[in-house]
């Protein structure tokens, strides 16, 4: 089991119809993310990083090729199965934070646990624990709109890991943050990596790249280099 990659993409491609013109966002990309790996995906804007991440995170299905999550092929999988896998095995961190504005910080973090059937008390304990780890214990009851950008992104990370997913997908998590806030977010992600959580992150930040165990360079929808 330990040898089975967390997620694997086999020659995946994704094209979009944009105003009658077909845009090839990702072209035959193959990629394996092993357990505990921290992968940085770099490349210019529009090269297909976010599209590749959304396929790995089961948000989008590839137009061609297949994605395997923990060894299981998801070719032709129903939305219901994808939704269950997203809920249980994957955590998301978005560039725009995407916290739910009507839920408090604590409730935002509790949400994935609640959706996975954890009791409210346990979900709350877990959320409080994570908030302590991320130095956000003073903001437990705060609403997202009262937080700074860095704090919001740390809450988003907390929400992504609250249900102990196998994989965290982070799409430019420091893109909206200043250097100090960005550094604190990267520190959190590094710590998660050291705890054995697999992370794949799209980024433009050199500081983020420096923390990754593997770096993949993309251009025009394809991986052109790996280091």
């Amino acid at each position: 089991m330990a040898d089975v990659p967390v997620v694997e993409a086999r020659a995946v491609s994704r094209s979009f119809d944009s105003g009658g013109c077909v845009v090839q966002a990702v072209r035959e990309v193959s990629l394996t993310v092993s357990r505990g790996e921290f992968i940085a995906l770099v490349g210019p804007s529009g090269c297909g990083k976010s599209t590749l991440l959304s396929m790995l995170g089961l948000i989008e299905l590839p137009s061609a090729g297949e994605v395997l999550l923990e060894g299981k092929s998801l070719q032709g999988a129903q939305e219901k199965l994808l939704q269950e896998l997203r809920r249980a095995r994957i955590g998301f961190v978005f560039q725009a934070f995407n916290l739910l504005s009507t839920l408090s910080v604590e409730e935002n973090i509790m949400l994935p646990c609640i959706l996975n059937g954890v009791s409210e008390e346990q979900a709350r304990e877990s959320a409080v624990q994570i908030l302590k780890t991320l130095n956000l214990e003073n903001h437990t009851k705060a609403m997202p709109n009262t937080l700074s950008g860095g704090e919001m992104q740390r809450v988003a990370i907390a929400r992504a890991i609250a249900h102990r997913p196998a994989l965290v997908i982070a799409d430019e998590p420091t893109g909206n943050l200043d250097s100090v806030a960005g550094e604190s977010v990267l520190a959190v992600l590094s710590a998660l990596h050291h705890q054995g959580i697999s992370i794949i992150m799209a980024t433009h930040s050199e500081a983020a790249v420096a923390r990754a165990s593997r770096v993949l360079k993309m251009r025009d929808g394809a991986i052109i280099d790996e280091s």
Binding site: S54, Q83, R86, N98, T102
Partner: protein, 835 residues
């Protein structure tokens, strides 16, 4: 935690909390639904209650059984029939039914009544002041005319005598008499006055078999009792019921149209408000779907939230807005009561029905709109949905729009061709329905094309911003534009129809009412008009200066089993005076006799199925129809025969009216005074101008229901358009802030929003006016002749079009002010902090 508990946990935080923390958007939906429910509830209440009450009043459910004693020839003298009437209550063998016989009244009679005083007194005070004072409950519309708010002492001068009455205004829930009118409630008509009919009312309903059999017995007895006097007819009332059925048909049509229009506009209002509210949570739904919440759970979240808002809104609508409901109900029922001469009182059952129906309908509409919106929103691609920049972009699908417009255009052309080639009311109504769709679809098409086409405008920043917004967010505009188009189309269509009717009637009146002086009886009644003295025409002809006297006779008769009105006039003279507007056929040459010939009104031609050359048998005489003519004086079938033929059928029958032509240059006022002097109390003398004014007044009164439809459509359209456009501008506040922060001036932002609003308003005005003209044409040229039997000339007047433009201008102005306020409140420091 179970799946269900998890869902409720999320609902409380996601939906319920948003209602409290971010109440602006739900508040707009709630207000829209409350307003729509208030109006819908009023309309449904009025519709249900008044039609029910109307049906009761004509079907005999609550109507007292009536026996009418009328003349066969000559006049009916009260003194001659009084002994028989008095004897009814004295007859021992009627003892079982005697108590059921009500006051013998002179029904359907109007006397020249002058109200000489109205004093606001309580009924107790009035009774104390005037011993033996009669009390009356009067209909609300009559109370308004008299200025009676609750109770009053009214002094009347009737037929030369003075009478005082204590009157009390009827409450909305009060079941007043169908003919509750001071004039017809007077029982002390001057003795010795000749009358056309007397009605006996038996308490108990028509449907009551016991009362009916008793009535038969009384009828027979009265016939026998009166057989020794002048020839009389004793029969149960039939004509009012038949007339009532016709009126009910017209009333049902009016109510149905009004209800449909109101519900349509309410529906669009609620739909638009709910859709915008649902699209507002698109991104958040995408986020929770990314976190693993199923699409069906997302749907349920939105639907339950919308249902709660809709239900609360609907309940507020029917409770807080109750005074509005009462006002609308009162306004409509009093107008309708006055026009149709029936008492329309919403009963408790109808009120409950209207209220419950409105609440259910509006709640369902809100929930349904939320369901449709949520399906689109919850099904949005997660990749797109979680990126906020894509949130407000809802462009139109060009191919779909073009295909829809092409399809509806083809359908419309086919329907219009069918209507012209093979007219039918169903096709005419279909054209109206399809033209509304067509105008809406055309608006969508232009909304799609113009931002692409108007490239030259892009050099101006404000225009560029506006065209960009129209292009990318067209779907947000569509419904408000459609609501405005539909409203303008209906306003213009109804106005054109009424205007065409008015023009046609004015032209018809000018031709038909040729003459200088018109005389009619001061004692007149619906259904069986009172007559003038036989010798009056000869007396008038002897007055110096009178060139020609044309008496017109009329009576009720039947052709087969169909009730008709038979008119008698010197047809040769009338043809010479060219007073008939012939639709088919014509007058016969002046050197030939009119004996055995007749002309038929358009209504008679349609209802009796006669045409030029047909034979009709009236009162035993057979006549050949020489022509059919336009007639707006009565909706009943009218057959006009020559005076000599009429007089041979109806001996000693006084004329209904007399028309007098004066010689050129004669003094109208002095001759008029001389005519009035011939019979000062019992005749009314009018000149042509007065008569034309009277016709216009009656016309305006009849079309007050249409006016109320227009008012309701106007109010709903205004509210709907304002609220949806306001929501749209509110939705774009972040975009406006961003534009401001990057350097766009406040003036450019206001100009940009103004261009958008004016653009949509202009499109709605153009589409609405075009559709309105087609609707007006359909109503005037097809629905009126086919449903009501009147041929009208379609008149394209500018007034309704100008009214529509004023309406559009008001909305555009209000929106510009809103834009000004919103843009003026942007503070740069917090412009982007709305996460």
């Amino acid at each position: 935690m179970s799946r269900r508990s998890a869902w409720w946990w999320l609902w409380v935080r996601f939906s319920a909390r948003r209602l409290i923390r971010y109440p602006q958007r739900p508040a707009i939906v709630l207000i829209s639904i409350a307003l729509a429910t208030a109006l819908a509830s009023a309309v449904l209440r009025v519709g249900a209650a008044s039609i029910d009450s109307f049906e009761r009043s004509i079907s005999g459910g609550d109507q007292p059984y009536q026996i009418v004693i009328s003349t066969i020839g000559g006049r009916l003298n009260r003194d001659a029939i009084a002994p028989c009437l008095s004897a009814i209550s004295a007859r021992a063998d009627f003892v079982g039914i005697r108590r059921e016989v009500g006051i013998v009244r002179f029904e359907d009679i109007e006397l020249p009544v002058r109200i000489t005083g109205v004093a606001a007194l309580s009924s107790g005070t009035a009774r104390a002041a005037v011993p033996g004072l009669d009390s009356r409950i009067i209909a609300p519309h009559l109370a308004d005319q008299l200025g009676v708010s609750e109770t009053a002492l009214v002094t009347l001068e009737v037929g030369g005598t003075t009478k005082q009455l204590s009157v009390r205004r009827a409450g909305l829930s009060q079941n007043i008499d169908a003919y509750a009118d001071i004039v017809v409630m007077l029982t002390d008509i001057p003795r010795g006055l000749a009358l056309d009919l007397v009605a006996l009312r038996l308490r108990g309903a028509n449907a009551d078999a016991l009362v009916e059999s008793a009535a038969r017995e009384i009828e027979q007895w009265l016939s026998a009792c009166l057989s020794s006097g002048p020839p009389t007819r004793v029969e149960p009332v039939k004509a009012p019921i038949e007339r009532g059925v016709q009126l009910l048909g017209a009333y049902r049509f009016n109510i149905s149209v009004m209800t449909l229009i109101t519900l349509l506009v309410c529906g669009i209002l609620i739909w638009q408000a709910t859709q915008i509210a649902v699209y507002g949570v698109e991104r958040e739904l995408a986020i929770i779907r990314t976190l693993g919440v199923s699409q069906s759970s997302c749907l349920a979240l939105v639907i339950i939230e919308s249902t709660v808002i809709s239900l609360v809104g609907a309940l507020i609508g029917v409770t807080v807005a109750a005074p509005l409901v009462v006002r609308i109900t009162g306004f409509f029922t009093s107008t309708a009561s006055e026009i149709y001469n029936v008492s329309l009182q919403p009963g408790a059952g109808a009120t409950a029905w209207g209220t419950v129906a409105a609440v259910l309908l509006m709640t369902s509409l809100g929930a349904g709109a939320a369901f449709v919106g949520a399906r689109g929103v919850a099904g949005v691609a997660l990749y797109r949905g979680t990126r906020r920049e894509c949130r407000a972009v809802r462009p139109l699908k060009g191919s779909l729009v073009v295909a829809t417009v092409a399809l509806i255009s083809c359908l419309l052309i086919l329907l219009v061709l069918s209507l012209v080639l093979r007219p039918s009311a169903l096709i005419a109504y279909s054209v109206i329905g399809v033209v509304l769709f067509w105008a809406s679809a055309a608006l969508v098409l232009v909304l799609y094309i113009l931002p692409h086409a108007a490239r030259s405008l892009r050099r101006y920043l404000a225009a560029r911003l506006a065209l960009g917004a129209l292009k990318t967010s067209a779907r947000s505009f569509v419904l408000s534009g459609i609501a405005a188009t539909v409203a303008i189309a209906l306003l213009v269509g109804l106005s054109l129809m009424v205007g065409s009717f008015r023009e046609t009637l004015a032209r018809w009146s000018a031709i038909r009412l040729a003459g200088d002086i018109f005389i009619s009886s001061a004692v007149s009644g619906a259904g069986n008009e009172a007559r003038l003295p036989l010798e009056l025409a000869d007396q008038i002809a002897k007055i110096p200066g009178v060139e020609r006297v044309i008496p017109y006779f009329e009576t009720a008769a039947s052709v087969g089993d169909r009730a008709v009105v038979v008119g008698g006039v010197d047809l040769r003279t009338q043809c010479h005076r060219q007073v008939y507007t012939f639709i088919s056929g014509d007058c016969i040459p002046s050197d030939r006799s009119w004996s055995g010939q007749a002309i038929a009104s358009e209504s008679a031609a349609r209802k009796l199925g006669v045409q030029v050359g047909s034979q009709v048998t009236v009162a035993g005489g057979m006549y050949t129809v020489r022509g059919t003519f336009q007639e707006f004086g009565t909706e009943q079938p009218l057959i006009v025969v020559d005076r000599e033929d009429f007089e041979s059928l109806y001996i000693q029958h006084g004329p209904e009216t007399i028309t007098v032509d004066l010689r050129n240059g004669e003094d109208l006022l002095s001759i008029r005074a001389k005519i009035q002097g011939l019979a000062p109390v019992t005749i009314t003398v009018r000149d042509q101008r007065e008569l034309l004014t009277l016709v216009e007044t009656l016309f305006n009164r009849t079309f007050r229901v249409t006016d109320s439809v227009r008012v309701i459509v106007f109010v709903m359209a205004l509210l709907g358009w304002l609220s949806t456009t306001a929501q749209y501008i509110w939705e774009r506040r972040r975009e406006l802030r961003v534009a401001y922060v990057v350097g766009v001036s406040r003036r450019s932002l206001v100009t940009s929003l103004t261009i958008e609003v004016v653009f949509v308003a202009g499109l709605a005005a153009i589409g609405g006016v075009i559709a309105g003209v087609i609707i007006g044409w359909c109503l005037t040229c097809y629905i009126n002749p086919l449903v009501f039997g009147w041929t009208l000339n379609f008149t394209l007047s500018l007034r309704p079009i100008l009214e529509a433009l004023v309406f559009v201008g008001c909305v555009a102005l209000a929106m510009m002010l809103l834009a000004q306020v919103m843009v003026g409140r942007i503070a740069r420091s917090v412009a982007l902090a709305d996460e």
